[in-house]
Amino acid sequence: MAQSQAWGDKRFEVMMGRLLRFGVIFAAAWVLAGGIHYLTQSGAAKPDYKAFHGEPGGLRYPRKIIREAIRLDARGLIQLGLLLLIATPVARVAFSVIGFALEKDWMYVGITLIVLALLVYSLSSS
């Protein structure tokens, strides 16, 4: 195994790590901002989580969550932050496709694309 490949691998991985950390910090800050908005608005209400009702449609699908967030709905804003968080590992897998392609490892480009397809399926299916 060539030394250069191992080095390329590692440099790419460090970059991935930074990307993930940035994604998480950004998502957490977003959720915190949405959370403060949410508590100032409905902090005095009584919480009701004993029985399961399920979220309204506007908080279930990526496109609708974005719409809720644009109207500055507090719960929609938090949900968008959570969606960003869910997207960070997906982004990492997507970037790994590029990493393996740069190494010309086509078998692993294929394997990574399968994982990516499964993730996209899960996020877009209903």
């Binding site: 590692k10 998480v24 005095a44 919480p47 989580y49 399961f52 279930r60 959570l82 399968i114």
Partner: protein
Amino acid sequence: MSTFEFTILIAIGSLVAGMIGALTGLGGGVVIVPLLTLAFGVDIRYAIGASLVSVIATSSGAAAAYLKEGFSNMRVGMFLEIATTIGAITGAYLAASTPTSAIAIIFGVVLLYSAYSANKPPKDLLTDEPPDRYATLLKFDGSYPADGGEKSYRVRHVPAGFGLMYVAGVLSGLLGIGSGAVKVLAMDQAMRIPFKVSTTTSNFMIGVTAAASAGIYLHRGYIDPGIAMPVMLGVLAGALIGARILPGAKVRTLRLVFSVVIAALAFQMIFKGVKGSF
């Protein structure tokens, strides 16, 4: 109790869970569901949704630290991700048709196993057997920096590891946990990967696995922003604090104490599940 107090209390509980989870290596996710259901009376479906989100946060948050050490094996991780993501999607679908009391019982059993396995000292089962056919084909064999240069290792029993990873994925999707204990079982015990490599590789996999079931949970309306917000922020902050104080901590005693707590929670989940009060 108002929403404000409820949110703050959950955030504090999650912070403690995340901190102890990081210190003991058990992960904060395992106690989030018992905490929310048993202490706060939250429906187990909301609890699982919030726990999944916190699992992604800690996995991605810790990845930066792990990746700098350069021990993870991306090829092993990515290949096994096929098994865990299919498992996670299966588990998330199963969650809809499984009675909540059955989920509580399975959860309790998995908790007991996690508490048990965390107290076994890690031991590398390296072998001199000839290379595994699949491992060679998939370019799994690698090396990692150890004292005195690079240490190389060979990966064994790929089909068994792949099968166990599917199980880990199903449990993750069904229960909203990282399934770290089962992933370690697959990589350390079955595939004979050195634990320094398997721990970091499994951390990367936990986030991807959780993301695979999170999508389905989101569509099903299990992820509630009001609960997931304090849980995610609390666990993440706790995990970061835990990682920072880890070097000076008396981990063995803490792990033992935490395991006893987990076992107690496990019995309570099983008991309430059997009684059908979930």
